[in-house]
Symmetry: C2
């Protein structure tokens, strides 16, 4: 790399104001929401068009420097951290809604469009973009695709991959592909699907056709408080056994309730050990009867208090406890680490016991907020990262929670991605053949490791080595024959 | 290949009765439901376990012969036809349901389990496997995964990929991978997703965790008859505009109605030019009101007759017209070719005009049965393949329908796959860079083209050439810089 020449050439592509080189400014790009490991990029570029992105990537190939795509930087697994420096392509200036096609329920957008802004834009049309991660007011569609983001409502509506009809992507050689033309079905291999959740390691998405979802005619929400988590989880089991598919099923534990209660004065009783939110939606007819059924199930499972919310205003209030939970954690400790794992739903009670046990043994407070409907846990480990001992114990807690999730038949990420946070846990979940298959897939897209290197695979086993190892195993086998 | 030695070794793996070598018997494996191009395999093997499949694939590598996976052979695009001979691995003896985990809504099965038998097995549990292709009484789960099969109810419930939680797959080197452990979320790249719809070209699925779907509490169906297709399609538009998401929205045209009416004496009036089936499901409360709403929409769009079906018996009768449509085509002509394309829903009326125009110009009767809710057309071209002239005109009709679908912003396959039937149309839908990206993905899984060679990519451009071409383009680009 010749930095001066590279920067001059980048300025030719995107203009002077589209290139960030000031060292202080670059520091703000040294990590995303996961600050375990920070690395500043050599330069940040802010293109406005697919053509500019393609030119930047060709330039990166000529100079042999890594390219790291970045949306809003709200990721929680280090996906946007430039582990080996290089060029960050920020999508903040690619935030146009290019075409709205309501009769076919779809919209064509650039990757820098903010999730919440898209939904706001669509409000009057009666449609929305269904994935609603907690960061939705800041995170971008490109980041949602990179991480295959979920959110409370993905229980009923599915995660990002279920709402992406096709993407335009710039590959490592600067070529531009379209993986579909915006019809619901694809022909040939499902490139769209495999790009979802690829964490910026295959290329950079420069436009996408998204599926729009009709806003439901009506919504009903119930908030129920219980003395213990057990009452909330047994309510969830009975709601599901009743054959209902709620739009959301969210649980918070005592510590999480305390945090939001203190911060927002929500008037929760002190004896509340668990909070459950059940949301159902659909046509108006019959929805109130459904609400009454759910209220009855809550009471029969020992609820202390049950608060049905019929109007939008009541519903906003009920949801505020959940939506502000992560923000309120700052009241409890200087730092928190948000864990993201998934277990089969029936293993949730066992997992909660294990998490409590880990918290006790390592002497760290752990709050819990989770998507109970699909077994997606979010233990929140509270600590002070300035204290090396607490820092070390927090890391230990994360490690143990990951391994126990795997032991319980689960996986190490529900919606936050692997990035750098969890790359060392991959070999516990996948054997060498599984990882080699993933690596071979990666090599198909990006054989030189141009895009976002140093992610997903364990540090000691990069994609190329893993893929080559598989290839040589295959040949060894042939020779033996 | 040394045929005698290969066959002896195969018998060692699966036993004598698991190896088919009789030439007459092999002829029945020379195609699937698409008989455009037939090729007999050298040998058919019927393993019972993953270990046996792995051993067969290793043997195939040693002898350097192709391996073609085959389920029930009901495919419609030639996916199971062994274009270059070799070994067919039939999954008919891998038909065990290995583990039922109802509390977590999932089941672990071998690939040879028949779609309908799985659903029958689950009836009393209150769950089902949602994808319901027309061939569901014969087709296998493995074939559903290979083709990412749909069906009338995929409008609401999604296609096969939405119901597969993870697969065990034997790769070209005989290694066995698991792409997930049966939890709803995956970690790392979405191998499960990209294997769905890969048409047996990546490896062979030997087991899979499937997502189970609760049977709805109640179902209501409406059958409406119209003088013309326009009345049916405008009803569909209004139902969707009303914000409803029916479980199914199916249309049949005059010729299709005539076929089932004659064969099953359903008593449809002669003046019926279109038949529409709308199915809604969910909780019982409010469902009858919804049914009344839909009935009113049907009448207001000029229906000749509207028949609501509230009881299961009535519903079976209503559905019988649709479910027997393809079977009844034999009454109209000695041969039919079932076309499968998708266009954005709003282009359906235009497409119907184009299809009628093609039928008229080529002087061939064409019946239409289609999944109106998601724009998936199924024109049925009726001809006599023994007549070379009719045969030629039928091929022309297929070609024109494909190209017009692409022109209308659609794709060339909704649910039947590319196989050999549509491989030459891929370059009309995808440019060279798009195809090269697919080819590179393929090379990641199966670099030597062991599995099901001669499919998906155009005959003159196999995956390896396409992938290499991309690679050399990238380097050429580098040199210029």
């Amino acid at each position: 790399m010749e930095p001066t020449r590279l920067i001059a050439e980048l300025k030719q592509i995107v203009g002077v104001t589209g290139v960030v080189t000031d060292p202080d400014a670059l520091m703000t790009y040294d990590a995303d929401g996961c600050v375990m490991d920070t690395h500043a990029p050599h330069v940040v570029v802010l293109p406005t068009s697919t053509e500019q992105v393609s030119a930047i990537v060709r330039l990166a190939a000529q100079h042999d420097v890594p390219v790291v795509p970045r949306g809003a930087g709200t990721g929680l697994s280090g996906g946007a951290t430039p582990m080996h420096g290089g060029i960050i392509i920020g999508t903040s200036r690619m935030s146009q809604i290019l075409e709205l096609d309501l009769p076919n329920g779809r919209v064509l957008v650039q990757p820098g469009v903010i999730n919440w802004e898209l939904t706001q834009y669509l409000t009057l049309s009666g449609y929305h973009f269904a994935p609603d991660p907690s960061s939705q007011k800041a995170c971008t569609i490109g980041g949602n695709i990179a991480n295959n983001s979920g959110g409370p409502h993905c229980l009923k509506y599915g995660v990002t991959t279920n709402h992406v009809l096709g993407v335009e992507m710039v590959l490592a050689d600067g070529s531009v592909i379209w993986t579909g033309d915006g019809t619901p079905d694809c022909a040939g291999y499902d490139l769209t699907g495999v790009i979802n959740g690829s964490e910026g390691t295959f290329g950079i998405v420069t436009a996408t056709w998204l599926r729009l979802t009709r806003l439901p005619e009506a919504i009903r929400v119930v908030l129920a408080l219980y003395p213990t988590i057990a009452g909330a989880t047994s309510t969830v089991s009975q709601v599901i056994a009743r054959g209902l598919l709620p739009a959301a099923l969210e649980i918070m534990d005592r510590l999480a309730i305390k945090a939001v209660n203190t911060m927002y004065r929500l008037g929760m009783p002190d004896e509340a050990g668990a909070l459950l939110i059940v949301e159902v939606d659909g046509v108006t007819d019959g929805l109130d009867e459904l609400l009454n059924d759910i209220v009855a199930i809550c009471w029969s499972n020992g609820a202390l208090d049950v608060r049905p919310a019929r109007t939008p205003a009541e519903q906003v209030r009920v949801w505020s406890a959940r939506k502000n939970a992560f923000g309120a954690m700052g009241r409890l400790a200087p730092t928190y680490h948000l864990v993201d794992t998934v277990v089969p739903r029936t293993r949730l009670p066992k997992m909660m016991e294990e998490v409590a046990q880990i918290a006790q043994e390592l002497n760290l407070p752990v709050a819990n907020v989770f998507h109970a409907g699909d077994g997606n846990l979010h233990p929140i480990i509270l600590f002070d990262r300035r204290d090396p001992d607490q820092n070390e114990r927090a890391l230990q807690a994360v490690n143990r929670m990951m391994l126990i999730s795997i032991e319980q038949g689960g996986v190490i990420s529900g919606e936050h991605g692997i990035g750098v946070e969890k790359q060392e846990f991959m070999p516990y979940l996948f054997n060498q053949d599984d990882l080699a298959a993933m690596a071979a897939l990666h090599q198909g897209f990006d054989p030189e490791g141009r895009f976002n290197p140093g992610k997903i695979f364990p540090k000691t086993q990069n994609a190329r080595d893993l893929a080559e190892q598989r290839h040589s195993m295959a040949f060894a086998d042939r020779d033996v024959a």
